[in-house]
Chain length 338, copies 2
């Protein structure tokens, strides 16, 4: 069993601005897991907030000793072992999880959705993200996104109303709103949510900072819109304590260590009657396809990470008017472009 | 896709007595799911308490219309559909779940544990159950069970101390205790638990009736031994509300509708930091093997249902001194004896 990796610089079609930061290039690591002539692909898209970068990922990956295991099919043991090597490093761990799942699917000659007994025709549709920007740029982006039936709008800066008004002047399509912890005061947040409800918004993601969980509980009791946890939830263990504060969770493979943990989180959220959303970072078709294989288990999908880039090195799931179209190829169903 | 079924009468080596009832014969239904020349086996072992019998199971099974589905691999859709046909009928639903999993494993030519990425060498050991009986019979049974390293002792009748004293005179091996809701008063229950702790018991299963959840919470705060829910837990949705009252859950395939729901329950219990036990009814090697494939995810296994019968019609997992030895055959790894 051999793991190798390579860095890719992904170029964004538009500068991507959320309430905390802005960027033009996303650096990711693509891993290749090879055993018995089969190659499994995985991806790590690191986030500074969680202490990762394209420098820390290889440092973590080289600590993994696959020689301890008899077979790549022992996912439970391998991934538990990798998880215990060091805290954090969630996107690096995700890369390994994805590569092992891809390998397994190829070994069994079956797409991952089928390995999990899922019907891809029942996948949630993906939203398309409109980042925070000037009125003119937002107008242009909304027009460019005409084919997508659901928009996810980033708010939480000082132009929330302008963002929504600009979009609503152009279209009445479904809107998800993501505040990315941008509202610091619960009364202000409640006012914004009331106003958003009138603009026909479906839900609000992470209205306030994750550290203000009591404020979010207060807000949820009064909110007319469902609240979905994003920054508040990384992994499985955090979900139960969120059940009173949020109506759902946004699972990101890069934050939760991959598909195996994501499945655990989905099952747990379901037990708690919470809605299940899957989001992404800026990722290639490798990471996005992985998320899409879980599409039939999602209430909401926000898997547009590779639609936002101009130079995806991989083919995989296709986003056709928001529909996530998986192919029938085994594993993740991804392949390096020529 | 074709489902057929047949009743088997399983004969117990000893009359099986718990706090509520006694029996010599267990009637089960074995199902065969056939598609493309592959046969998947499943089993339903009904419980009167939950409104099932060998009469209700065929009534339920004949309502399932497989022609709605393209492929047996669409487990999520098929099992959600079957679940929605009618409430209850959990062992009948379990039979279908097991048969589809067995079919899938055979189709992919892989044992179920491997399909789930598990290492069977890491399985929990199974306990062997000693039912409530006279001192003389208990003595005899404990001696017959010499090869098994863990005994699960049924208490909750009026001879608890006699049961334990009789066993402890013969052996100091690990004891699990199952009260099967037999203690109705919380103060009495606490006294019994304190005494059991001194007899070196590992945990107590369902000390009090499931309807007395507040009493069980009171008991747990004061108990020196972990409390495991059995009658209190049927399916996924019940787990979160048990988190403050019990330290773990006992999952039974026949009560939870099968392997797919069991996996969801395991993931949820883990998120809630609860221990995971798997129990069984009187079952053939079909049902017991199914549970054993989840063995590596369990803290405690009580999968002796087919060791207690004299005429198991199936070969499958072997219980060697409490170790659950799965073979490498695909699916459940079970076969009808000649």
């Amino acid at each position: 069993m051999k793991l190798t990796w390579k860095q890719y610089d992904l170029h964004l079609k538009h500068t991507f601005r959320i309430s905390r930061s802005a960027s033009d290039v996303a650096k990711v690591i693509i891993v290749q897991f090879e055993h018995n002539g089969i190659i499994g692909y995985g991806e790590a898209s690191p986030t500074k907030r969680y202490g990762e970068s394209v420098e820390t990922i290889p440092q973590f990956l080289q600590k993994i000793d696959f020689s301890r295991f008899d077979s790549p099919l022992q996912l439970e043991d391998i991934l538990n072992y990798a998880d215990a090597i060091e805290q954090g490093n969630t996107s690096a761990k995700c890369a390994v999880d994805l590569a092992l799942h891809d390998w397994m699917g190829k070994k069994l000659n079956i797409p991952l959705y089928q390995l999990w007994g899922l019907n891809p025709a029942k996948s949630a549709k993906s939203s398309f993200t409109i980042a925070i920007d000037s009125k003119e740029v937002v107008e242009q982006k909304v027009r460019e996104a005409e084919e997508f039936p659901i928009l996810k709008v980033k708010v939480g800066a000082d132009n929330d109303e302008e963002m929504i008004n600009t979009i609503r002047k152009i279209t009445d399509k479904v809107l998800y709103v993501d505040a990315n912890e941008g509202w610091k005061d619960k009364h202000l947040a409640l006012e914004r949510i009331k106003w958003l409800k009138d603009q026909n918004v479906e839900f609000v993601e992470q209205p306030m900072p994750s550290a203000q969980l009591d404020d979010i509980k207060w807000l949820r009791d009064k909110s007319d819109l469902p609240l979905i946890a994003d920054e508040s939830v990384l992994r499985l263990q955090e979900i139960p304590k969120l059940a009173g504060a949020f109506d759902g969770i946004n699972i990101k493979l890069m934050k939760c260590t991959g598909l195996r943990e994501a499945m655990r989180m989905i099952n747990t959220a379901r037990a708690l009657n919470m809605k299940i959303m899957m989001g992404c970072m800026i990722e290639t078709a490798v990471g996005i396809s992985a998320g899409a294989h879980l599409g039939p288990l999602l209430d909401y999908a926000d898997l547009d990470g590779n639609v936002l880039i101009s130079d995806d090195p991989f083919d995989g799931v296709r986003n056709i008017k928001g529909e996530l179209k998986l192919n029938n190829n085994p594993g993740l169903g991804v392949s390096l472009k020529d």
